[in-house]
Amino acid sequence: MNTNRRTAARAGAALAVVGVMTALAGCASSAPASDGSLDMYTWVSSESDRAQWESFVSLAQKEDPNLKISIDGPSFADYWTKVKTRLSGNNPPCLLTTQAARAQELSGLLMPLDDLIEKHDFDTSEFDESMLQGMTVDGTIRAIPYDAEPVVLYYNADLFAAAGLTPPGVEYTREQFIADAKALTTGEQKGLAISTGIFIPNAWTLADGVAAVDDDGGLALTEPDFVDQVQQFFDLVGAHGVAEAPEAADGSDVSQAAFTSGKAAMLIEGPWMYGTFDEAADFTMGISIVPSTSGEAAAMTAGSGFGIAQNCDDPDAAFEAITHLTATPVLEGQAETRGIVPSRAEAVPAWSNGKSPEAAEVVDALLGNATAQITTPTWNQVETLFTQYAVEGFRGDKTAEEILQTIANSVGE
């Protein structure tokens, strides 16, 4: 009787193990046939994203007809999580993309490129200095940037004209900006549209040269200068009343729609939105610098680049591919068709084609004095908490000091 039970139990256990093994075998992916192509893992949120990456590859193939790159990846929002699990799985890809602002977070995944740069005689001096700085982690470059996008101030030129105001140019003081915004705030219309998150406030602080991260790479959220800058930004809503307080769950589409529909006269955003805004707006649109206390142009640059996975089998081939993907004609083509501001100075004029001379001047002035948005490995937490808490800052329920202190304590740096 006992033996029988034991046999049954053993058989049951064996069946369970076989079942688990079968299920796990079903989960494991098999290796694709090798055809000499490189795999690139990147964000592919839409057909438009896929078209952009394919356009990169097809332009690069003009440099090297033998180049083969297959593109795969999840949406932009999911990319930052899935890239980590993708590299832990079978057949990890060799080529990755990253934003400069995420380079710290992905530093464990990205191979230092300095030796490859030297070996391939790759001239980095032709690239935007701030973006290279943004892609540098622990003193080594982790990705070669393909764009260098200085955050700008978009304005509705028609509303400025109607209010009898002079539109801003390559200089814009905070004092003048607040005076203009107040004049443009009437009834339902606001002077500025604001979105949630720390990206735009960080562009505001960097316009005055104040960074969120100190020279040692630690968070400097509670430094008096940074606190003061963020409080100034909150005050645009609470004290000056020139903007609506954003709601925590509002995406940037809400503030963008407020601007393009004419409900807000100004908006701070990246230059990659120029084409989209110009198409959506039925008014004359202009761009200026993010206002600074002195009025001089100083930009926060955002941008992305190509890197190589730590566990890539053939880094030389991957780097060779990156040199083609970031060649001047490729970046010029991207600037013309996709509206990116290229990371190579000599390709920047391609962005200006079809835009007003003032827009080109503003971008040139900003790139002349730019700092990348440098972050920390815990920046995701900072971003999440700032989105949660900033609502209270804009409403005046809490001060920037209280909020930034809370965030710093939670992040624990």
Partner: protein, 308 residues
């Protein structure tokens, strides 16, 4: 040797009839196999896996480091843990109470000799089968600063608050949306419970001259108590897992006003890259839900009546 012979004999006997005691293990296993596999693969393995992960500092990429119970120690020193636990408990109790009160009221109303009762039942059930993300997005538009709710209040001369940005109203807004989303399910369950109450008992009590309130208090509610207990337990367990509503409506803000346990757990695991800490949080949630459910089962003896 004897036992081997016995086993062989048992097999010979059991196989043709299927009724022998010694062969029942195989038959039972054959029946249990599909369900058991699912239970082991999808419940037991992840459960044990998360317990193991909770003892590590475990990033999504890279090598995990064994840290013993440090994640649990950190958890008890983390002020946000207490905040999200408090928010979740408040949400669970208020939401469950409102949900059951509303569902019971509607179920009683539908149980009167109402025309088109089936139609109304479908209407109330519709939100429960609509994707919650879609519902939450619509509610976000309704409750936004210049949304429909404040426009209507404005029309009546009342200046509406910032439902989702004011910490006094944000959690209440999330609860309101959640109750609207899910009370229809409980309406169906409680309606079925009401339908099962024998008409003869109610008629007899009517002939004895009872009032509607007396019938509700002394006949309907006691006889409905098993259904009420079921809905209460399931609603409470679901409430502790609230995630989508704060994620879509408020992102957990303003401040931590609507940050809930599962939202905090999810962010730790998949946004902040701390799978170990997220697993420790998951086990704390598991224990809290187990405790609350055990208390409910312990308390049911006092008020749930299974007599017919």
């Amino acid at each position: 040797m004897a036992s081997i012979t016995n086993v062989g004999a048992a097999r010979r006997v059991a196989a043709p009839t299927g009724g022998g005691k010694k062969g029942q293990g195989w038959v039972a296993l054959a029946y249990l196999w599909p369900g058991l596999t699912g239970f082991v693969v999808f419940i037991v393995v992840p459960l044990v896996g998360s317990l193991v992960i909770s003892l590590f500092e475990w990033p999504l990429f890279g090598s995990p480091t064994f840290i013993g119970v440090a994640n649990y120690e950190k958890l008890f020193g983390d002020p946000t843990f207490y905040t999200v636990l408090f928010n979740t408990v408040v949400f669970a109790f208020v939401y469950t109470a409102l949900n059951l009160a509303l569902a019971l009221g509607i179920a009683l109303w539908l149980n009167t000799r109402l025309r088109f009762a089936g139609f109304w039942r479908v209407i109330f059930f519709l939100p429960a089968i609509t994707p919650m993300v879609a519902n939450a997005l619509i509610w976000r538009l309704l409750l936004s600063q210049d949304g429909l709710v404040n426009s209507l209040l404005g029309g009546a001369g009342v200046e509406g608050p910032s439902w989702l940005s004011d910490s006094q109203f944000a959690l209440a807004s999330v609860i309101a949306m959640s109750v609207w989303q899910s009370f229809g399910y409980n309406v169906i369950v409680l309606s079925a419970g009401l339908g099962a109450i024998p008409k003869e008992i109610l008629e007899a009590s009517r002939m004895d001259g009872t009032t509607a309130w007396t019938r509700l208090r002394h006949i309907i509610l006691p006889m409905l108590s098993p259904a009420l207990f079921f809905t209460m337990t399931m609603t409470m367990i679901g409430a502790f897992q609230v995630f989508v509503q704060p994620q879509i409506l408020t992102q957990g803000g303003p401040g931590e006003a609507t940050n809930t346990f599962v939202l905090y757990l999810y962010r730790n695991g998949f946004v902040f890259d701390r799978l170990g800490y997220a697993s420790a949080l998951a086990w704390m949630l598991f224990l809290v839900v187990m405790l609350i459910t055990a208390l409910q089962f312990a308390g049911q003896r006092r008020w749930v009546n299974y007599d017919k």
